[in-house]
Structure formats: structure tokens, C-alpha cells
């Protein structure tokens, strides 16, 4: 995930919150285990929630499926 880590850090540094939603969702897809995935999904969901990002319903559904909303 080093490339993804770099992109996440760059997005944080640039204040690119819109980009963070996608990057954290990508991190969730690459995570090992449910807890790690839900951590990243939560990050994506919260940043998206603030922006009314179109991915929010899907992120919410993934968290809900794990009982994490």
C-alpha cells in the first residue's frame, strides 16, 4: 500500500477531501480483515458525509453490512 499511502498523504496535505473518499475506499478494498476494512470505510464514509459525496450510500451500505454504522 505504499503507493496508496503516498497518495493518501498527498491528498491530506492538499486538503483534497473529495479525493480522500475514493482513496480510503480503495484502502478498504486492499485491507486484510474486516476491522481494517471498516476502519478505512469509516474514513471514506465520514469524509464523504461532510461533502454529500455520491459514494456515501454505497459506503454506508458496506458498513451497515458489517454492523458498523
Amino acid at each position: 500500500m505504499s503507493d496508496l499511502d503516498d497518495r493518501l498523504l498527498a491528498a491530506h496535505a492538499a486538503g483534497d477531501q473529495w479525493g480522500l473518499v475514493g482513496l480510503y475506499a480503495e484502502a478498504a478494498d486492499q485491507a486484510n480483515g474486516v476491522d481494517a476494512a471498516c476502519f478505512f470505510l469509516t474514513q471514506a464514509y465520514i469524509y464523504g458525509l461532510e461533502l454529500a459525496h455520491p459514494s456515501v450510500p454505497a459506503l454506508h451500505a458496506r458498513l451497515d453490512a458489517e454492523g458498523r454504522v
Partner: protein, 384 residues
């Protein structure tokens, strides 16, 4: 402090205007009195905070500090304007630090608890551990933003901080009836129709000066040329509100003679009638056939006040030029009052000033305000 009055003695203020004294100096310069009035007068009643037009669109949020309390003026996605304490229920962090549009949720910048524009707590990330966003100890339904009781009238957002005042419609039933013809949409004139004056005075002196017409020929000679003292009358509703009225209101005209369109359905009284009322404690309103205004007095410290002026019209399509002329004219009038309210503030440091004596003919609106303040302080001291 005046030599014939004690700190707690407000009986002289509550006498009839013919024999009353004004509020003692302490009410303008004593930090202990400032603190007491904050609770007894401004928190315990319906104080003006802002105008609803400051958050015109759903999601618009504006942080406002009121007497040290961080508040958030917010128009929800449902269109309703509400006032909240501008803090997260988690660690008390300030939520919104500058005016902004809330696109989705209000996210606390600390641990990212999220709130809807209606104040509901909608998400608590990692509150049950990483990736676990719930915990049985955190009941979201009980942890929405702390809402401050509010009421909107005349586009003005009134708040009752202590939550104990009678309903706004009850407290101001008389004024609502008096001005019921203005119970119609007031269209804010926009950016060119609002301005703020920073004044080095206690907020009450701005109210007192606004109430009365006695000073017009001396302080506003230009205004007096078309709005003469003899055409004014006192509005004095003891225990309620006060102000002044004019029986010879003349509309502002453009170079081409154009005027602003009238508000709909006004009775003939308003053809040449105009009224200017102080809605206690800190809101000053003006009602005229073709435009209205609201002034919110923001008490900053015991001797500094921000005067926020907003002008309103009957339609969205008024002349830019005429609006600008009108704003400029009112700004001159209100600026002419600055030296007066600042001078009276300085005067309150004279130890032998006894609160002053009133002209029974001309000062009854000011006395009415003092009497109201005194009765609110007395009620606070009595715990009623």
C-alpha cells in the same frame, strides 16, 4: 455610583417619568452589573442575534458569538433556520469557525463526529474502537447539537438563552398586533443593504438614543428638514416596548423621481406614517410604506457594541441605484448618532451623575426602556 443611590436600588428608575432617574452609572461601567444584566436582561428575554437573511440558502451556516457564547446560525436542508451552540457534544470543540455552506454534514474537526443540518448526531466514527462506529454508551438520539430557543419575526432571529421566557408571540403580542400589516415577506436588499457600525458604547445607550425623537433637530439636522420633530409622537408601552413615530414620512426618490414600491395591502395610516420601535432588549426596527429596517445590537463588552443594520424592501426587483442611495442616507443618520452614544458612555464615569432626569414630554420612550430593564433585574434578583 450616584451618591443618592445604592448598587441595588432601582426604585428611582421605576418611578413615573416625572420623578424618575435613569439607570445608575454602574449599569454602564461596572463589570459586576454587566454580568448581572447579561443574565437578567439578555439571556432571560428574547434577544436579537442576527437576521435570517444572513443564511439565505439551505445548508448556510454562520458562527456568531453572543456575549461569549459560541452559537451557530444554520438554515437546515428543510429550510428551517435554527440556532445551536456551536460545539460538538463529544469534547466541546468548536464545530464551524467561519461562514460556510454545509454540503452534507457538519463534521467536527477534532474526532469527526458528524451532525445533520437539523442538529441530529448522525455518525460517531470509531467511537466503539477502530472501524466500530457505535457504542452502547453513546446514544446518538440524546446527543444532537444543543439547540437554543429561537423565534423569527421581521426577519430577525430572536433567541432566549435561558429558555424560560414566555413564548415570543405572548411577550410581543401587542407589537405583533400593532405591526400586523408588516406580517408579509420582507425582502432583504442584499449586500448593498447591510452595514455594521462598531461603537464604543454600552448597548443600552444605543437603544435609548434610538427610542426618542428629542435629539433629531440637534443631531440629525438633515433628517429633521423632512422629518420634523413636531411631526413625531412617542410610542411608550410600559413593560413592553417603546420608540417613536412620524406622521409625515416622505419616501426617498431617485433622480428620476422613482420610489420603492409599497408593501402590499397597507392601510392609509402608512401613507405618511412611519414607526421606529425598540424591541427590548436589543433590536431596533423601523417600519415604513416602502422599506423597513432591522438593527441588531451585538453587545461585545460593557462599552463596545456592534450595530448590524439591514434594509428590506417589498420586492426582489428594486433599483440598484435607489437602494444604494437609501443605504447611504441611513448610514449618515446612524453615524450621526455615534458621537452621542459614545459621549454618553464616557459621561457614565462622572461619579455625581445620578442617572439623569427625563423630560416627561420628550423622554418617556427612554424611561420606558429603563423601567423595563430595572424590572427585569429586580425579577432576576427575586428569582422570578
Amino acid at each position: 455610583m450616584a451618591k443618592d443611590q445604592t448598587f441595588d436600588d432601582l426604585s428611582a428608575v421605576r418611578r413615573p417619568v416625572e420623578t424618575a432617574n435613569g439607570l445608575p452609572n454602574a449599569h454602564y461601567i461596572d463589570p459586576a452589573m454587566w454580568d448581572e444584566e447579561k443574565h437578567a436582561v439578555l439571556f432571560a428575554n428574547w434577544a436579537g442575534l442576527a437576521v435570517a437573511s444572513e443564511v439565505p440558502e439551505p445548508g448556510d451556516a454562520k458562527p456568531i458569538e453572543f456575549l461569549g457564547i459560541p452559537l451557530l446560525l444554520l438554515r437546515g436542508r428543510d429550510g428551517v433556520v435554527r440556532v445551536f451552540e456551536n460545539i460538538c457534544r463529544h469534547r466541546g470543540m468548536i464545530l464551524v469557525s467561519e461562514p460556510k455552506k454545509i454540503e452534507g454534514a457538519i463534521r467536527c474537526p477534532y474526532h469527526s463526529w458528524c451532525y445533520g443540518t437539523d442538529g441530529r448526531l448522525v455518525s460517531t466514527p470509531h467511537v466503539g474502537g477502530p472501524g466500530h462506529n457505535t457504542h452502547e454508551a453513546i446514544v446518538r438520539e440524546n446527543l444532537g447539537l444543543n439547540e437554543v430557543r429561537s423565534h423569527i419575526w421581521f426577519d430577525t432571529v430572536f433567541i432566549n438563552i435561558d429558555g424560560k421566557a414566555d413564548p415570543f408571540e405572548v411577550v410581543h403580542a401587542d407589537l405583533l398586533e400593532r405591526w400586523k400589516e408588516f406580517g408579509q415577506p420582507l425582502i432583504h436588499g442584499g449586500a448593498d443593504s447591510t452595514f455594521t457600525l462598531e461603537v464604543k458604547t454600552n448597548w443600552k445607550l444605543a437603544v435609548e438614543n434610538y427610542c426618542e425623537s428629542y435629539h433629531l433637530p440637534w443631531v440629525h439636522p438633515g433628517l429633521n428638514s423632512y422629518s420634523r420633530l413636531e411631526d413625531h409622537y412617542n410610542i411608550t408601552e410600559l413593560g413592553l416596548y417603546s420608540g417613536q413615530g412620524s406622521t409625515l414620512y416622505r419616501q426617498i426618490k431617485g433622480d428620476d423621481g422613482a420610489v420603492f414600491p409599497d408593501f402590499a395591502g397597507l392601510s392609509s395610516f402608512w401613507n405618511e406614517g412611519a414607526e421606529y420601535v425598540a424591541v427590548y432588549p436589543n433590536v431596533l426596527l423601523g417600519a415604513q410604506r416602502d422599506h423597513c429596517f432591522a438593527i441588531i445590537l451585538q453587545p461585545n463588552t460593557i462599552d463596545s457594541t456592534s450595530e448590524h443594520i439591514h434594509l428590506y424592501y417589498s420586492t426582489k426587483t428594486t433599483s440598484d441605484t435607489l437602494r444604494a442611495k437609501n443605504s447611504a442616507q441611513w448610514k449618515v443618520v446612524f453615524q450621526e448618532d455615534v458621537f452621542v452614544v459614545e459621549g454618553m458612555q464616557k459621561g457614565r464615569h462622572a461619579p455625581n451623575f445620578d442617572g439623569g432626569r427625563f423630560s416627561p414630554a420628550m423622554d418617556s420612550p427612554t424611561h420606558c426602556f429603563h423601567e423595563w430593564v430595572a424590572r427585569k433585574i429586580e425579577a432576576h434578583r427575586e428569582g422570578t
